[in-house]
Each structure stands twice: as C-alpha cells, then as structure tokens.
C-alpha cells in the first residue's frame, strides 16, 4: 500500500523552493516554528489542539532534516517539480560511473584490510571534493531559470551524489573500526 505523500518541506517551512538554501535562514525558520509549536506553549489547550500542535511540530522537524541534507533537498525539489516521481525512478547509473565507483570501493576495501590510514585519507579527500563539486553542480542545474532543460543532468548528478554519500558512509564505518 503506497504511503501518503509527505507535505512539501519548502511550503511547510515557508521557504522559497531552491537548492542553494541559506542555511542560517533555514535554521532560524526551524527554530521559530519549533518554538511556536512546542508542547509547553500548548499545554493549556484542548487535547485536540495539543495533538495538532504536536503533529505539526513533528512535520516541521522532519522538513528541517530533509532540507538540511543536500541529497534529500534535491529529491524534494525534483518531486515538487514532477521530474522524479519517487526515489529510485531516476535513470540507471551510467556504466562509467559504476566502473569508477567499483574501483574506488575496491581501493577502499584494500585500504581497510591493510589498515592503511594514508590511503584511506587520500581516498576520502578525493570523494569529499567530488561531493562538494556535485553539490555545486546541483545548485547550478536546479536553480537557474531554465532548469527544466537540465532535468536529466540534475537526476544524474543526484545519483552520483548518492554514490559519493555511500562511499563516505563506508569510510566512517571503517574509521570507527580502526579506532
């Protein structure tokens, strides 16, 4: 059974739907709304109103977490614009990307087995730079006036960003293991 679509996080927080969000503005808006909806401010109200405030507070927190994360922010924009119906409906990853990811993951596995911190750091640095470049690129692709023309490129950049994210998650797991 399909779950009901969650409310659009940009509308929920009253923010302009762009990828290059001002983080300070996002945090300030979240703080304001969370304070207004805090249970302490509604404890004197009827149970129904209290439940509503609590439900709204949960939605606001979820929207904040979603927009703070570049991957999920891009997803929210793509869904909002109707370019992607759901996560996973993106184009298949290009063979070159998969080959590259496979090589990088194999190198990471070798560094892990050898407990080779220097290689681990080098691989991580490369991937962090790549992640930053992809976030920049998504900003260019999603925020320019004629963005529809770049829908496909934006979807591909998002898929690649997810691969860099997975790589860096794995790095953190290995670092925990080596510590």
């Amino acid at each position: 059974m399909p779950e009901p679509a969650p409310p659009d996080p940009f509308s929920l927080l009253g923010l302009e739907p762009v990828f290059r969000l001002d983080e300070a503005v996002l945090e300030a808006r979240h703080r304001e709304l969370a304070a207004a909806l805090h249970p302490d401010r509604h404890h004197a109200e009827a149970p129904r109103a209290r439940r509503q405030a609590l439900g709204a507070a949960i939605e606001v927190n979820a929207a904040f977490r979603q927009l703070r994360d570049p991957v999920r922010r891009a997803e929210a924009l793509l869904v909002r614009r109707g370019w992607a119906v759901a996560a996973g409906s993106e184009p298949r990853p290009a063979p070159e990307l998969l080959m590259d990811v496979m090589e990088q993951r194999e190198a990471l596995a070798v560094a892990r087995r050898a407990r080779d911190r220097a290689s681990l750091e080098r691989l991580t640095r490369g991937m962090v730079e790549r992640e930053a470049a992809l976030v920049d690129r998504l900003g260019e692709l999603l925020d320019e006036p004629a963005a529809e023309a770049h829908a496909d490129a934006a979807l591909r950049a998002l898929v690649e960003l997810r691969y860099t994210r997975r790589f860096l998650d794995e790095v953190r797991a290995i670092e925990d293991e080596l510590d």
């Binding site: 996560a87 996973g88 993106e90 184009p91 298949r92 990853p93 063979p95 990307l97 998969l98 080959m99 990811v101 496979m102 993951r105 194999e106 596995a109 898929v159 997810r162 691969y163 994210r165 997975r166 790589f167 794995e170």
Partner: protein
C-alpha cells in the same frame, strides 16, 4: 530490520566472491547499480565451449540483501545454459532469501546483473564470430596506414 537466516548465511559466508578476467572472450561481465541507494554489483560468468556456465563470480558493495542476492545468483548460475540462466527471475531470488518488500530491489539488481552478464558474453561472441566470418576487414586498414 531483521534479515532472514539465508541472507545472513550468504552475507557472512558469501559464495563465489571474486573477479574473472574481463578480457577473456569466454567471460561475460555485468555491472549494475541501484540509483536509489548507491549499491554497485558486478557479476561475471565464464561460459564453456558447450555453452554451459562453468564459473560465476561476483563483487557487491551494498547491503546484506544485495550481497546475498548476488551470492545466491552465482550459485544458481553454475551448470546452467545461457537460456536457462536468462530465466532466473528476481522473484525466485527474493523468495529463496525471504526478502522483505523494501529489499526486493536488491533481487532486481541481481537479475539485472545476470542479464547484463549474459548480454555482454553474447555480444563478445557475436563480435568474435563476425570477425572470423567476414574475412579480412583488418587488411585494407593496415594497407592504408602504411601509405
């Protein structure tokens, strides 16, 4: 989320992890990925002269279900003809491993990898046959290069 015993067994003791020579004409390679989660899976088959799969290897960077799905796929592939191998469906893999609905896409990835490896092997075989059949395409080129 709880993994089934079979998933855990394949995850802790994966079968046929490794690499076959991608340039070997009897080897077909499938490299596939899941755009939603960042998993990547490589599955390779080595096909004998009789058209039967002699060996199968995989390497998967992904969750336990993705590893188990590809491990199981390599076990099933050995000893099958290409046509039989092409009939393996993700639903068979999902059923054998008791994958929950949120992990079905891992078995889909494994089916994709099988199909892609078979396709790669067939493409290489066709290219080889074309080369052997249509006599001398290499000769004139070399003659031109000498001019």
């Amino acid at each position: 989320m709880a993994y089934s015993e079979k998933v855990i067994e394949h995850y802790e003791n994966p079968k046929n992890v490794g690499t076959l020579d991608q340039d070997d004409p009897s080897v077909g390679t499938g490299l596939v990925g899941a755009p939603a989660c960042g998993d990547v899976m490589r599955l390779q088959i080595k096909v004998g002269e009789d058209g039967v799969i002699e060996d199968a290897r995989f390497k998967t960077f992904g969750c336990g279900s993705a590893i188990a799905s590809s491990s199981l796929a390599t076990e099933w592939l050995k000893g099958k003809s290409l046509d039989e191998a092409g009939e393996i469906k993700n639903s068979h893999i999902a059923e054998e491993l008791s994958l929950p609905p949120v992990k079905i896409h891992c078995s889909v990835l494994a089916e994709d990898a099988i199909k892609s490896a078979i396709e790669d092997f067939r493409r290489k075989r066709e290219a080889r046959r074309a080369l052997q059949g249509d006599a001398p395409p290499a000769e004139p080129e070399r003659a031109e290069a000498r001019v």
